[in-house]
């Protein structure tokens, strides 16, 4: 555990020593609130909830999280610092978990910094703050899912751009699986259980059901499973690459 913690600390400090972290948070904050007001018509629709704010989270994460996760392992492998990391008294699993947790905490911080919108909606009316809390939790869990997948794919290559593209690709698949366009394609020929299974793999369906204010165990379990499996795959890939 101490190994995980040490890696996490080193990584977190690393984020703030480069401008990258600030750029990431800056873009996230600007886009999240601009989308809410302009695309989501937050003010014009006159409803005291944050639905127009959270609707765009999956799409923001789709591009921003891979940007964050692409360097997790690709960078270490390119610069060769992975060799150094592996000589330290931490297991691969601890290193993977530590790096992931650092990135997750960082993303959670970015999400948390959107709190002015929460103040705004409470000023404008009396929103259901339980729903907002649930949606924030859901958003952070979804970010964790994106991160874990991105971290895993970042270990596949030494090239950060390739890592980014791979992560976006997989994330798009995971997102779109819940959209009606995709489901309709399958619904035409596949039996209902298969369609349901595809839908159940989607970030969107799980995030949407949390963000309406109900924390269903299945949604939490989905994200936990996704993070767990992706990180485990991450360690396997690292072991494989070590063998190269």
């Amino acid at each position: 555990m101490s190994g995980t913690f040490a890696v996490m600390r080193r990584e977190l400090l690393g984020y703030f020593s480069t401008p990258l972290a600030y750029v990431f948070i800056f873009i996230f904050l600007v886009l999240a609130s601009a989308f809410t007001f302009y695309l989501g018509n937050f003010y014009e629709r006159g409803q005291a909830d944050l639905a127009p704010f959270f609707t765009f989270h999956p799409w923001l994460f789709l591009f921003l999280v891979p940007a964050l996760s692409m360097r997790l392992w690709a960078e270490e492998r390119r610069s060769g610092s992975i060799e150094l990391l592996m000589t330290l008294p931490v297991t691969v699993w601890q290193a993977v978990l530590g790096k992931f947790l650092a990135a997750w905490i960082f993303t959670a911080l970015a999400v948390g910094l959107t709190f002015p919108i929460w103040l705004t909606v409470n000023y404008l009316g009396s929103p259901d703050n339980g729903v907002i809390l649930a949606a924030y939790l859901g958003s952070i869990m979804m970010a964790g899912g994106f991160l874990a997948v991105g971290s895993c794919l970042s270990a596949v290559t030494k090239n950060q751009v390739i890592a980014f593209i791979l992560a976006v690709l997989v994330a798009v698949v995971l997102l779109l699986a819940g959209l009606a366009i995709v489901l309709d394609l399958f619904a035409a020929w596949a039996p209902q259980p298969i369609v349901d299974a595809i839908a159940s793999l989607s970030f969107l369906t799980h995030f949407q059901s949390i963000s309406k204010g109900v924390i269903d165990v299945r949604d939490v379990v989905y994200f936990a499973l996704l993070i767990g499996f992706a990180l485990y795959a991450n360690t396997i890939i690292l072991e494989l690459k070590k063998a190269d």
Partner: protein, 666 residues
């Protein structure tokens, strides 16, 4: 192991991992159903226990079709918001029905088959939006044997009762047979002989209306027991009921039978029915024998008079209408808006009503008011109304007590039998068993005459759903019940035609128009009582929509501020237009076609002024929205700009400090 071998194992592990992941997600989806935490403030997504047990008890599949015009409502957000709420509630219901409830969302596009289907179900499109699109937003349902039910349009303002309305619909599909209402009336509600006209009179409108919705079974005024298949006992004006009948009613209620009871200190309709003299009929009615046991008190000789809700009556031809404080036109404020029976009704007219009080000190039963008087009310002896020549005289003796009297109420909670010693008319046996009855609240089999045996048999018949009684023994006499569902109304005249409908003869046809909601009140009460016991308890729920209150307040404020200006300018404009037309009419068109230059200049001046004022008016209109827009812009800027800006400054500061720190180290 060599590298290639390890690789193979590694890759296959990855593939297996992916498959295990998919399997685990699917397994959790089916295994972990129903474990959830509803964080919404009003537990919007948690069905009430009543609905849940109704859904769990479904044993025949029921199909629900939610018709919603998707495209037509694209720019009507409030309808869309409500549609999400409705759909999620229906999905939630379907999820807790063990697959018995199937939901299908249908988009009835214009000229499509779906639109025909919607029309077949009796759904009505409503004109909404700026372009007046025809919007379908209704719910239809079918059961296995082809019965249909529908809510033609789901009104957003009926949201507090959405769950009740849907649950009621599902219940009616699951129990398609019409509920049986046992009517026991001391007034000729089903028609009788009209002594004034000397010919048979037609049934009251209320009776006809109820007959359309329920199976009404008229019960004799003296009976030994009430059939078990009677869902609701509708007891109107019970005067001089004999012991056996009272016992039958008592046992019916204790067995979990529901009752809607109308009593009155002075039923004017009863004296009207008895003849022009007004003698020979019992004007007052009470059920004190049962009320005492239930812990309720009714003012059988006192009438509630109300100065706020008083109706005006004509005392004779050519005279001015007089306020009659004994007649009340109750409005929404006098009704419980949380209760499905009275919520949304507009007016209920009552005549010389009595009031109920909760006489049960230990709080066994709860008396929930449905109709109350205004605080400006008082009590007057019923005799005062008997030969009242001028209702205006009543006001002379009127001094309000400040109390709100309960004119109608729900009675719920545990009650005891009014016949603790068992059935009447069998004194010997009752005496013998008195001690026994007191000890365990039960009766012995020997004491029970035949109707008790019948009651037992019928209790066994009544599918077990409503058997709430306890303290029963083999004889079937019930001494107490855990929970009763009774609605009490302190007025009988509320049912009479003259207080709520107008009959007109039109080409030999009777036209009936309602001017008060008395009929809805009664059908709502019967409908509610005849539903499952769980449904009765379903109260209104909090609403889902949460508007921007700050913006609304701003809008109101701006509205008030600018309306004055607008009115002033409008007056100015009217004046200008008036003068302009005056001037134009002064033109002597008949003699001269041309205007003098002065006239022309004057007209031009007026026209300019008119344009200026119109512009100013538009500016006022714009101003009305400006403060709201300004707030929106401010919030946009704050939200989009402030955080990133602060972050940038912070970053610069941090980097600057770090550099200085490093320089200092060097």
């Amino acid at each position: 192991m060599n590298t290639a071998g390890r690789r193979r194992i590694g890759y296959s592990t990855l593939v297996v991992l992916l498959l295990v992941f998919v399997a685990a997600v699917m397994a959790s989806n089916t295994l972990l159903k129903g474990m959830r935490l509803d964080l919404t403030e009003n537990n919007l997504y948690t069905l009430s226990p009543g609905t849940k047990s109704l859904l769990a008890g479904l044993d025949e599949p029921i199909n629900l079709y939610l018709f919603f015009s998707d495209e037509e409502t694209a720019d009507i957000p409030f309808i869309r918001t409500y549609e999400v709420r409705v759909r999620e509630l229906l999905e939630e219901m379907a999820a807790s029905s063990n697959g018995m409830l199937r939901l299908e969302v249908v988009d009835p596009e214009p000229f499509s088959e779906e639109e025909d289907r919607a029309t077949q179900f009796g759904l009505q499109p409503v004109n909404l939006g700026t372009l007046g699109e025809n919007v379908f937003f209704g719910l239809a349902g079918t059961n296995g044997v082809g019965d249909e039910a529908a809510i033609p349009f789901l009104q957003p303002d009926k949201e507090p009762f959405l769950e009740y309305d849907v649950a009621r619909m599902i219940y009616s599909l699951a129990h398609p047979e019409k509920p049986v209402i046992g009517l026991l009336a001391g007034v000729p509600m089903s028609g009788g002989f009209d002594p004034t006209a000397g010919r048979p009179s037609s049934p009251w409108v209320i009776t006809q209306q109820v007959r359309q919705l329920f199976e009404v079974r008229t019960l004799p005024s003296s009976l030994e027991s009430i059939d078990a298949d009677v869902d609701v006992l509708w007891l109107v004006h019970p005067s001089n009921l004999d012991e056996k009948t009272l016992y039958a009613i008592d046992q019916f209620v204790l067995r979990g039978g529901r009752a809607l009871i109308f009593v009155d200190p002075l039923a004017e309709i009863a004296s009207a029915a008895a003849g022009p003299s007004g003698f020979g009929a019992a004007n007052g009615s009470n059920l004190d024998r049962l009320f005492d046991a239930w812990g309720v008190e009714f003012s059988a000789d006192q009438v509630v008079v109300d100065n706020v809700y008083a109706l005006s009556v004509n005392t004779g031809f050519g005279t001015r209408p007089v306020r009659h404080i004994g007649l009340a036109g109750l409005d929404a404020q006098a009704m419980d808006q949380e209760d499905v029976i009275t919520a949304g009704l507009e007016t209920i007219n009552v005549g010389t009503a009595g009031h109920f009080t909760d006489a049960d000190e230990d709080g066994g039963v709860t008396l929930t008011p449905l109709l109350t008087s205004s605080p400006e009310a008082a009590l007057m002896p019923a005799a005062r109304f008997q030969f009242l020549a001028d209702p205006g005289d009543l006001l002379n003796d009127f001094s309000p007590t400040g109390e709100r009297y309960v004119l109608a109420a729900r009675l719920e909670g545990p009650i005891k039998s009014a016949f603790p010693d068992g059935p009447p008319g069998d004194d010997e046996a009752a005496d013998e068993d008195e001690a026994d009855a007191e000890q365990n609240g039960a009766e012995d089999e020997d004491a029970a005459p035949e109707e008790a045996a019948e009651a037992e048999a019928s209790a066994a018949d009544s599918d077990g759903a409503d058997e709430e009684g306890e303290g029963t023994d083999a004889g079937g006499h019930l001494a107490s019940a855990e929970n009763v569902n009774v609605v009490l109304v302190g007025d009988v005249d509320v049912l009479s035609d003259r207080l709520w409908v107008q009959r007109q003869s039109f080409l030999g046809q009777q036209l009936i128009t309602a001017f008060a909601s008395n009929g809805d009140f009664v059908t709502n009460a019967l409908d509610n009582l005849s539903g499952s016991a769980e449904l009765i308890g379903l109260r209104s729920r909090a609403t889902y929509s949460r508007p921007f209150t700050t913006v609304e307040a701003l809008r109101r404020e701006a509205d008030a501020k600018f309306r004055a200006t607008e009115q002033r300018l409008q007056a100015e404009l009217d004046e200008t237009e008036r003068r302009l037309s005056e001037l134009q009419s002064q033109r002597d068109d008949a003699t001269s076609v041309l205007m003098t230059p002065e006239q022309q200049a004057e007209i031009q001046r007026f026209l300019d002024q008119q344009v200026r004022i119109r512009q100013e008016l538009r500016a006022v209109r714009r101003n009305l929205d400006r403060s709201i827009e300004q707030l929106g812009t401010t919030l946009k800027v704050l939200n989009i700009g402030v955080m990133p800006l602060g972050l940038t400054l912070l970053t610069l500061l941090v980097f600057h400090l770090r550099r200085r720190h490093r320089k200092g180290q060097r």
